[in-house]
């Protein structure tokens, strides 16, 4: 786990409780709204229902219509109006409900959210958090399981992060809301119900840093969001086979923590990246390339990508064949020449 400490907000540290990632995200938004009256929350079904994943549960009742509101069902409208609100001094936190439903907002995000600070020479910052539940492994119907991170990481001006556990979910969302930069906050749906015992408010590693979740000596296995659990399971399985895997949780996809990952790769000399998104042009391509450029002479083998296939996300009965598994990862690592 990331190093945990009480968040320095003046808020009293609460007794430890078992929290799901969804509950931790809920607490992060709530605490941010208590601490900062400019934080507002809106999107589809985030009001009385509390969001389709209940991440905003209870917030409408606590803060009322002026700060928590259901919006019309239109994602460009949600992001576009958030831009205007941020221009007027608010800190909007908006929800896209599902990864593939963020695409109507693509123009507002890419042409305005990402560029406003730059085109106005810093005069109009946009402190907006766009929460996007993403990825699969939940038996979702079509358009409910996309991994859309590469669209956002390819866009200068955006900060793109993805927590893998409840502690990071809380800490990273608090930091994202406090940031003056727009943040694409990608929440792995399959991890919403994962639990941890937390004393909130908790502060883990800084938002822009990767962490070594498990130390190892033979291979650096890089993951983020939903595949961190897969990577940890792979390391457990490998240990039984005598292979020592170091697992890195990237946490921040943009910026990429070259330092933390570089140190690990130069130590192990072998690296692989795991993600659910398709391989071609995917986020792993950037990771493999930059690690190779910067660490070529330390590498004993080419960097591997263990990812979803280059196909649209499959239907529920077929997703198990699509998602990277520990066996598939270990099989890939075994293709390296080990001397």
């Amino acid at each position: 786990m990331s190093p945990q400490q009480a968040l320095d907000t003046g808020t009293a540290v609460r007794a430890p409780e078992d929290l799901t990632m969804a509950a931790a995200l809920n607490a992060a938004i709530r605490d941010a709204m208590v601490d900062d009256p400019t934080v507002v929350l809106f999107g589809e079904d985030v009001g009385p229902l509390g969001g389709v994943f209940r991440v905003t549960d209870g917030l409408y009742a606590e803060f009322g219509e002026t700060r928590v509101s259901d919006s019309p069902l239109a994602e460009a409208g949600i992001v576009g109006t958030a831009i205007g609100m941020a221009m007027y001094g608010l800190r909007p936190v908006v929800e896209m409900q599902f990864d593939a439903f963020s695409y109507p907002a693509f123009q507002q995000i890419v042409s305005h959210v990402a560029k406003m600070r730059n085109r106005t020479r810093g005069k109009i910052p946009l402190p907006i958090v766009i929460r996007i539940p993403y990825a699969g492994d939940i038996g979702g119907v079509e358009h409910h399981s996309d991994s859309s991170e590469a669209y956002w990481t390819a866009t200068p001006g955006l900060t793109v992060v993805s927590p893998s556990n409840p502690a990071d979910a809380y800490s990273m969302l608090r930091e994202a809301i406090a940031s003056d930069d727009p943040v694409i906050f990608m929440e792995p749906k399959s991890r919403y119900w994962s639990k941890a015992s937390l004393s909130l408010p908790v502060q883990t590693e800084k938002l822009n840093r990767a962490v070594v979740l498990r130390a190892g000596t033979d291979v650096t296995l890089i993951a983020y969001g939903p595949t961190v659990k897969t990577a940890l399971a792979t390391a457990d399985q490998a240990e039984a086979e005598g292979l020592s895997i170091e697992v890195i949780d990237l946490r921040s996809l943009s910026p990429f923590d070259d330092e933390t990952v570089g140190v690990s790769v130069r130590k192990t000399g072998r690296a692989a990246i795991v993600h659910e998104a398709a391989q071609f042009g995917g986020y792993g391509a950037e990771v493999a390339t930059r690690l190779t450029e910067r660490n070529f002479f330390y590498l004993a083998a080419p960097i591997l990508r263990i990812t979803g296939f280059d196909i649209p996300y499959p239907s529920p009965k077929l997703e198990e064949y699509f998602l990277p598994t520990p066996d598939r990862i270990l099989a890939a690592l075994s293709t390296w020449e080990w001397s």
Binding site: P72, A74, T159, D181
Partner: protein, 380 residues
């Protein structure tokens, strides 16, 4: 075969006459035909006339500079002065304006210096004025996107209980965009203090309005969103000012948004890279030149005895002075710093950008070796 309906579009058949307070001949319309709006006072109209004349001189000057190759591009608003000036005149100091690329004269009228307006068109940076000082958002290039920003800002002002209203300018083509629909709908549902002013200049680059929509008027769409809509003669600054002012008052009272369509005409090409002879007749342009918004008001003001030769001369002198200022600001050497490219992307410095900045700095210093070393270091 055409995808467009072959029958005569409804727009041609059923469009009502637009609301006007001063007709083509410069006569005030009868009170019972003025839609309940009052003709603004002569002093107000004289002020609007002055601003229109100055704005046109600026527009003509900038178009000339563009033809000389001294600006990258300039979308002219020639012929649309009544809409542009009425919009700005109706704003209170605390209000926000959300303009498009075609609305440079609105910026000018709200007090932005020519050199700051031209910063983007001469290519210094994407946008170049003080947004908070003037309360003007950056000019939007993607169509209709700024309408949503206006709704968001207006909603934020409402949440903060400020009496700020947002006014956004749109073109007729932009109303085909999904963002326009979403903005109209969000504004009405949230009862946002916002005014949408669509300048129907009848062309989206080359495409005429009857290929954008099949309804009578853009203003008619307002009823579908649950807000009032007004179809106004966009070359009658008196009507435009009266209707926009009423809509601003309505928004300020907390009664929600209004959609206004100003029927006007884009006399110039879309930009200097356009060739309008391919899609419209010279006779049509001549017809609309004869409906000039400035000449119309001039006839009225002269008849009222408000526009004397002395007043006219002083206005023209002010316009010439502004044209000279505009030319002068082109001769100033714009300071562009390549290293500023990295300055405003993120509030938190990024290592990768610092490396790329160092690379460019070394390259600029003409130091190929240092540049290579910077690259090499950055790959370590």
């Amino acid at each position: 075969m055409s995808l467009n309906v072959e029958s005569t579009p409804l727009t041609a058949v059923l469009a009502p006459p637009p609301l006007r307070l001063i007709d083509d001949t410069g006569q005030a319309v009868a009170e019972n035909e003025s839609g309940g709006f009052t003709l603004p006072a002569v002093d107000t109209l004289l002020g609007l006339y002055r601003q229109m004349v100055i704005a046109r001189r600026f527009d003509v000057q900038v178009t000339a500079l563009t033809r000389q190759g001294r600006l990258a591009t300039y979308p002219s608003a020639l012929g649309q002065e009544a809409c542009e000036i009425a919009a700005v005149a109706a704003l209170a100091p605390q209000d926000w304006l959300f303009p498009t690329y075609r609305d440079s004269i609105a910026l000018l009228t709200r007090g932005v210096e020519p050199k700051d307006i031209l910063a983007s068109f001469r290519g210094d940076w994407h946008s170049g004025y003080d947004y908070h000082q003037h309360r003007i958002a950056p000019q939007a290039t993607p169509l209709a996107t700024q309408a949503l920003h206006a709704v968001g800002l207006a909603t934020a002002a409402k949440l903060k209980r400020d009496n700020t209203v947002a006014l956004t300018l749109l073109g007729d083509g932009a109303t085909s965009e999904g963002d326009a629909h979403e903005a109209f709908n969000f504004a009405a549902v949230w009862q946002a203090p916002v005014v949408f002013l669509v300048q129907n200049n009848q062309f989206a680059i080359s495409v005429p309005l009857d290929k954008q929509m099949a309804c009578r008027t853009i203003a008619d769409k307002a009823i579908g969103y649950g807000m009032p809509g007004y179809y106004v003669d966009g070359n009658d600054v008196a009507a435009m000012y009266a209707v926009v002012s009423a809509a601003m008052d309505r928004a300020r009272r907390g009664d929600g948004p209004t959609l206004i369509e100003g029927l006007t005409y884009r006399i110039e090409a879309h930009t200097n890279s356009d060739d309008p002879t391919r899609y419209r007749k010279a006779a049509d342009v001549d017809l609309w030149r004869s409906r000039d918004p400035i000449e119309r008001l001039e006839k009225y003001l002269v008849a009222q005895g408000a526009l004397t030769e002395g007043v006219r001369a002083s206005i023209l002198a002010a316009a010439e002075e502004l044209a000279a200022t505009t030319r002068d600001c082109m001769t100033e050497q714009a300071v562009v710093d390549p290293l500023e490219l990295f300055e405003h992307v993120y509030s938190t410095p990024r290592t990768a950008l610092a490396e790329q900045r160092a690379f460019l700095a070394a390259e600029l210093a003409g130091d190929a070796l240092a540049s290579a070393v910077a690259t090499e270091k950055s790959t370590r």
